[in-house]
């Protein structure tokens, strides 16, 4: 087991290195750098001005060198200038005395770089945004996992029954509704003061505010409540829910046809007791892995929903970083998301082995 985890960690590290290198390479292609120079400097720069801007800021070194510097294994670039105050370097601000300049600064030294869009250290930006998305994800999981499991178990306990048919149709419908579709529909139906349900409800006096829910989650960043936060949470959960529910249903129907369930029924155990005490535990092994593997997929939903509802979290950060080619921010964002993907994969594998005693890793 220990060896298995070690090997998986090794592969994870390799994967993360490869992926960050790909991101690094793509963001450091010359047209992207040119765009960066023009947005940072000025849009009417000549080609020579762009080249000298990039040269003095170390962007034109070979990609591998830059990657090494970013990792912190190679010494950071220094562009000497005649006046010592204008000497630029990767690891120090202009005007730092020579003896205070660190040679290396990168991930290994805990330095994630400086964001060119937000004008602040990347580490800090990513952490604040991650906290906001963490809040969103927490509520998403709180809503999605229980409801998906309930739907799946109810559908799977009597295969082919009316309840099963209705719930399965519901799960298919939710998997066919991407977030940008359901979000748009929810906003139009529930959060518009002119259309949908809200004007009706307001007219009847059932709701005090103008709309049933708020179509923008910006205020939820500070103070989240049901009114401003439910729609984004619901939108993300709905898309992920259908898949988990279908997997739970499949696993539940398989368990319900097992021999020991038949034995229990023949012995006269109550149906509710069979479902809750005998079937449920075994039926929840498969959904566990599915839920863990679904978490990286939620990231897509997070990006879409944060854009749609204007909630400035990690997904919004990704969009901002990518749209402005903010290289170091983008790298940090991709490192975080790659780690999320790989760690959830690892947890799902390990958890599966623990939950299912029939599987042993040799």
């Amino acid at each position: 087991m220990g060896l298995f985890i070690l090997r998986r960690l090794g592969v994870m590290l390799l994967t993360a290195l490869c992926l960050t290198f790909i991101v690094f390479w793509l963001t450091n292609l010359y047209p992207n750098l040119e765009k960066l120079a023009k947005t940072q400097g000025n849009f009417r720069m000549s080609d020579e001005a762009v080249a000298s801007y990039l040269e003095s800021r170390g962007y034109l070194q070979p990609t591998v060198d830059k990657f090494g510097e970013w990792l912190g294994v190679l010494p950071g670039w220094v562009t000497e200038s005649e006046t010592p105050d204008e000497t630029l370097g990767r690891c120090f601000a202009a005007g730092t005395p020579v003896e205070d300049r660190p040679t290396r600064c990168g991930i290994l030294q805990g330095d994630w770089g400086f964001s060119t869009v937000f004008k602040e250290p990347v580490g800090k930006t990513v952490l604040t945004r991650l906290a906001l998305t963490g809040k969103l994800m927490f509520w998403v999981l709180m809503l999605m996992v229980p409801s998906a499991l309930i739907v799946g178990v109810l559908a799977g306990m009597r295969e082919g029954s009316k309840l099963d048919r209705s719930l399965s149709t519901f799960s298919i419908a939710t998997t066919a509704t991407p977030e940008y579709v359901s979000g748009v529909i929810f906003i139009a139906v529930l959060a518009s003061s002119r259309f949908g349900l809200s004007p009706l409800l307001a007219e009847w006096g059932w709701i005090d505010s103008k709309t049933l829910f708020l179509g923008s989650a910006t205020s939820a960043m500070k103070d989240a409540n049901f009114w401003n936060f439910f729609l984004p949470v619901l939108t993300i959960s709905l898309y992920g829910m259908g898949y988990i529910a279908r997997m739970t249903r499949a696993s539940m129907t398989e368990v319900m046809t097992a021999q020991y369930i038949r034995t229990a029924r023949l012995k006269g155990v109550k149906f509710s007791e069979i479902v809750l005490k005998h079937a449920l535990r075994n039926a929840l092994i498969a959904p566990f892995t599915v839920i863990m593997l679904q978490i990286p997929w939620l990231l897509n939903g997070v990006v879409i929903v944060e854009t749609l509802f204007n909630y400035k979290g990690f997904g919004w950060l990704l969009v901002q970083a990518a749209a402005n080619n903010d290289i170091e921010l983008l790298l940090a964002v991709s490192v975080v998301s790659v780690i999320v993907v790989l760690v959830t994969q690892l947890i799902s594998d390990i958890g599966y082995v623990f939950l299912n005693p029939r599987i042993r890793i040799s």
Partner: protein, 488 residues
């Protein structure tokens, strides 16, 4: 001209329609409740000594649901048929139904022919034994016909999808034009968007974008996945390790991040999409070559001309696909010459190419994993051992023994994957990546409409519902196919 209502002179039917909907919902809810009660199969002994079994409450409800559902379908059909004849007199739905007349005819023909010959149509014919599959197929074919008729032949649409009409900015569905020209359609059936363009026409034009790109991109992803997945599963070993690592590498990438990195004008400038196109599009060529060669290599006199003809045609298509303006890759600093413009069959817009390539790139690792898993499973079967004993080559076994036996799950996944690709295309449009901003595709339209969502929702709702229905149709179709393929 006056403002159209949704159903016009058929408004009398609305109350029936709503009533039926409510009753159906109630009946289904009651059915669910009743299904928790123990079944009471009441048996009744008739005076003549026979035993009749009564359905009891559950049976009665079941019949009621079927009846109500049939009535509901009937009412919907009345809306459509009457609308097709009465046109805008029957409101917005009538107007749309009349515009869609060619689609209805094509759908009816498809279904009539398919159901009549279903016993002779193999796997496709079996689809018509499953209700869910038929509903899904109908929805999918509806959009396919809409795309083909509307996008390719310019039927169905009421206005030009790009031109703006004065005074129609953000107008509600059914608004008449201020001063329609002679012969111009006098209404905006689904209203106008924030640039005063007709939402209905854009919806139809947008379906063509999806119908063109999604199945083709999925097909290419399958070619890549199959060509790499079969040997990975069959040979195993180091090849499998390397390919699986690469597939997992791509899968570990968040899709949206990958899109944001790949689908930008700057990346198009570097020529990377062209290199990817050259790499990804060669797989169908390899697949066909190996497929035919492994089957006929014992008859060289037949194989050689066959390969020359097939590879000639496919190779020509391939070269036309990857070369634009006589070059495969053309950047500012260098240029790799390709097929000269004279014999180049078609050029692809660089924006569309990059979208296409990235969608194929994102999808193929998943297909690879599925095919690899299936190959691992099937290679232990007896017929594979028999073929090995016969002395068949490995590629023959992979492509002519393993692949046909994996077709059931692959076809089902193909349908699901087209749906997923549609969602991905919508995502790209939603973030304004790839296709130009006035493109009528659904994702871009939703993106354009979402800014004014709470004031004028119709511009975003129409494409959202369209996308929802197409993906739902594909999911239902896949479900029907799965049901039928399990029955074998």
């Amino acid at each position: 001209m006056e403002q159209l209502t949704w159903t016009g002179s058929l408004a009398g039917l609305n109350i029936i329609f709503l009533g039926l909907c409510v009753m159906l919902a109630l009946a289904v809810a009651m059915q669910i409740v009743v299904s928790f009660l123990p079944a009471s199969d009441a048996q009744e002994i008739n005076p003549d000594g026979t035993v009749a079994r009564r359905g009891g409450l559950a049976g009665g409800l079941n019949r009621a649901v079927i009846l109500l559902f049939a009535l509901l379908i009937l009412v919907v059909l009345i809306y459509i048929v009457a609308g097709a004849f009465m046109g805008p007199q029957a409101g917005i739905f009538g107007g749309m139904s009349q515009q869609m007349l060619p689609v209805w005819i094509a759908l009816i023909l498809t279904f009539a022919v398919s159901i009549h010959f279903k016993r002779r149509l193999g796997f496709y014919g079996k689809l018509f034994d499953s209700t869910v599959g038929m509903i899904g197929f109908a929805i999918v074919m509806f959009w396919v016909f809409t795309g083909v008729f509307g996008g390719l032949f310019d039927l169905l649409v009421t206005h030009d999808s790009l031109s703006q009409t004065s005074g129609m900015k953000n107008k509600l569905p059914g608004t008449p034009l201020r001063s329609p020209d002679e012969g111009e359609y006098p209404w905006f059936l689904l209203g106008g968007d924030n640039l005063a363009r007709d939402v209905f026409s854009r919806l139809i034009k947008g379906s063509w974008v999806v119908v063109q790109i999604a199945p083709l991109a999925t097909l290419f992803a399958f070619m890549v996945g199959i060509t790499l997945g079969l040997p990975a599963g069959y040979y195993g070993g180091r090849l499998d390790t390397i390919l699986s690592f690469l597939a997992n590498l791509i899968l570990a990438f968040p899709v949206i991040l990958l899109f944001y990195l790949l689908v930008t004008p700057e990346i198009v400038l570097t020529g990377i999409p062209n290199y990817m196109a050259v790499f990804l599009f060669i797989f169908p060529l390899i697949f066909l070559a190996v497929l035919l060669n492994s089957r006929y290599y014992t008859q060289p006199s037949f194989r050689t001309p066959l390969l020359i003809v097939v590879l000639g045609i496919v190779g020509w298509l391939y070269l036309s696909l990857v070369s634009t303006n006589g070059a495969i890759v053309a950047t500012d600093s260098y240029r790799i010459p390709g097929l000269p413009g004279m014999i180049d069959l078609f050029d692809i817009d660089p924006g569309v190419l990059v979208v296409f390539v990235s969608v194929v790139f994102v999808n193929s690792p998943t297909v690879f994993r599925i095919v690899r898993g299936l190959a691992l499973d099937i290679k232990t079967r007896d017929y594979v051992a028999a073929a090995q004993t016969r002395g068949e080559g490995p590629w023959y076994i992979m492509l002519w023994e393993i692949l046909p036996n994996a077709r059931g799950p692959l076809i089902v996944d193909f349908c699901l994957r087209i749906g997923y690709t549609t969602i991905l295309l919508g995502t790209l449009g939603f973030f304004g990546l790839g296709l130009e901003s006035e493109s009528p595709d659904w994702g871009s339209t939703i993106n354009a409409g979402r800014r004014l969502l709470s004031l004028y929702p119709h511009a975003a709702i129409a494409p959202a519902l369209a996308l929802l229905s197409l993906v739902l149709g594909l999911n239902l179709l896949a479900d029907g196919l799965r049901e039928e393929s399990l029955r074998d």
